[in-house]
Symmetry: C2
Subunit: 316 residues, 2 copies
């Protein structure tokens, strides 16, 4: 509903494959295994990541209300969809949030290396304004996410220089050859450092998979992924007047939006502004599903012996 | 002593200029102005940033010991030197730390823009290993720090494409023309998003300068900068066995260091490993100061009516 198309209903077939092959626990008993006033570690019992991280967010909101900030980690979790979903939960509570996660397949070598020991480990943040939309950042630490490479291959389009390199360190622009190369981190060694640090925080600290222990959930539907995520919630009231803070955010957003543009640039966007607009548009007009994806979902429904999606106004 | 040469004694003349022109308070009375179990805001009373952030770190360590995590912000602070100094404080306490700051001069426009509303807002992190050195990240959110541009101009060397663009959006490679252009963020719009978010956390949240309110401390030695910084401390014991965590960090560091290298790459580095080596080397053999800088420091000593540096084994 926010246009994170690589993370929405397109993932349903994969999630169901993993549930049916007992690679994910449909009825997890989630437990807090470490607990301090402002921190916790949630063991997700190999449940769907969406459930585990939602639970972690609930815990973090309560603790942040008490302590000003909360830092809650997960282990034995799974892929949880777009990171921005979870940081956005802060907004209705007059909080701001940060999120780190270990990605579910390693596509990134350390800087200068060829062993794919790292994932596109993302960071997300949500910070509320008053009249202006929230600033919502949700980004991989690689120049391109792997899904974008796959999309180029499907569309038969070359990749720009800077997305991937091959095993000689040369630019790789043919997306059908993506198996012969690696994603590039943003800012070269800097993005490598960010991917490593976010992975240490979301994986290693929580006792979740990191480095060699990461399971490629595209190739393996059975082995538990032991995914780790970290959510940090900050209660804005612990830092002063909440309305004054939001007014400062609004002013900054307006200063940025109204600032002078480079030749040929129509508009300066704030992080999350385009997703915010899509939420509104899709809520009003419905969410577009491609014929291909709809076919997959129909096939999935048939396999499961359930009714296919009924879609209002669809042309099928 | 760790090779952060753009942030060490080279800054002393500038700090003293600001102190002498009453742009910085030599005897600040620092106060906690917001206080919750795991959070605080420190008003630095326009004291040197090194004092203010050190005080914030002390507070954060105490709160993290009680609560598992602490998030402490500063306002009315100043330039505090290299971020890594402060996150490294975590290591002796079996903690890990994150740090965000608003830079003291805006050199970065929003993505697509020309108004320099953002700084190179850095992030730093320190995470301890056991036998292996700590992972210490300390990076600006721009491809190059502004100091590197100045160094190229001094050395008469072109900049590589990707460091800066001019007002037409074209690559700017002549460092003597740096006033005609802007730094580029890492990963294009992604680095813009990071610089904005870290600035919101370190500046806007703390009631410190951000955006249009940032004072260029290179050009203006009088106006209080109202610099903001944020330190986050995490007590490792709140996440399980500390030795087991450090052993996992060691294993990851070794896996990365021993992993396969691209042709022509001699060694894969962990973030902070080179600084760590420099600390050892400089502690043993002394810290190298260029003749030019030594001359500046001698001049400064003469201006202040104090004795110049006595340097063991110097060739002066």
């Amino acid at each position: 509903m926010q246009g994170s198309d690589g993370h929405g209903i397109i993932r349903l077939p994969q999630y169901i494959k993993r549930l049916r092959s007992a690679g994910m626990n449909p009825r997890p008993i989630m437990r807090i295994v470490e607990d301090r006033p402002a921190t916790a570690v949630v063991d997700g019992d190999n449940g769907m990541g969406h459930l585990v991280v939602s639970h972690a967010v609930d815990i973090a909101i309560g603790k942040a209300r008490e302590c000003g900030v909360a830092w809650v980690g997960t282990r034995n979790s799974n892929h949880a969809g777009p990171a921005s979903l979870y940081v956005r939960r802060a907004l209705e509570h007059d909080m701001l949030a940060l999120y780190f996660a270990v990605g579910n397949a390693n596509h990134l070598p350390p800087w200068g290396g060829m062993d794919m020991l790292l994932s596109t480990n993302p960071i997300a943040a949500a910070i509320p304004g008053a009249a202006e939309p929230p600033v919502v950042l949700d980004m991989a630490t690689t120049v391109a996410a792997y899904g974008k490479v796959k999309a180029r291959a499907k569309a038969g389009r070359e990749m720009p220089v800077g997305w991937m390199i091959d095993r000689q360190g040369q630019p790789l622009t043919d997306p059908t050859r993506s198996e012969d190369g690696f994603l590039l981190p943003i800012g070269d060694h800097k993005g490598y450092g960010l991917a490593l640090v976010f992975g240490l925080l979301a994986g290693t600290l929580n006792g979740a998979a990191m480095g060699r222990n990461v399971v490629d959930f595209n190739a393996d539907h059975v082995t538990p992924t032991n995914t780790g995520q970290t959510i940090i919630m900050v209660d804005l009231a612990a830092f002063g007047d909440v309305d004054a803070f939001k007014a400062r955010v609004d002013q900054l957003e307006r200063d940025i939006r109204d600032s002078e543009r480079l030749p040929g640039v129509d508009r300066i966007w704030l992080p999350g502004e385009q997703s915010h607009a899509k939420r509104g548009a899709y809520a009003a007009a419905g969410y577009p599903i491609s014929t291909g994806l709809l076919g997959e979902l129909d096939q999935l429904a048939a396999d499961l012996g359930i009714a296919p999606l009924e879609i209002e106004g669809s042309r099928r």
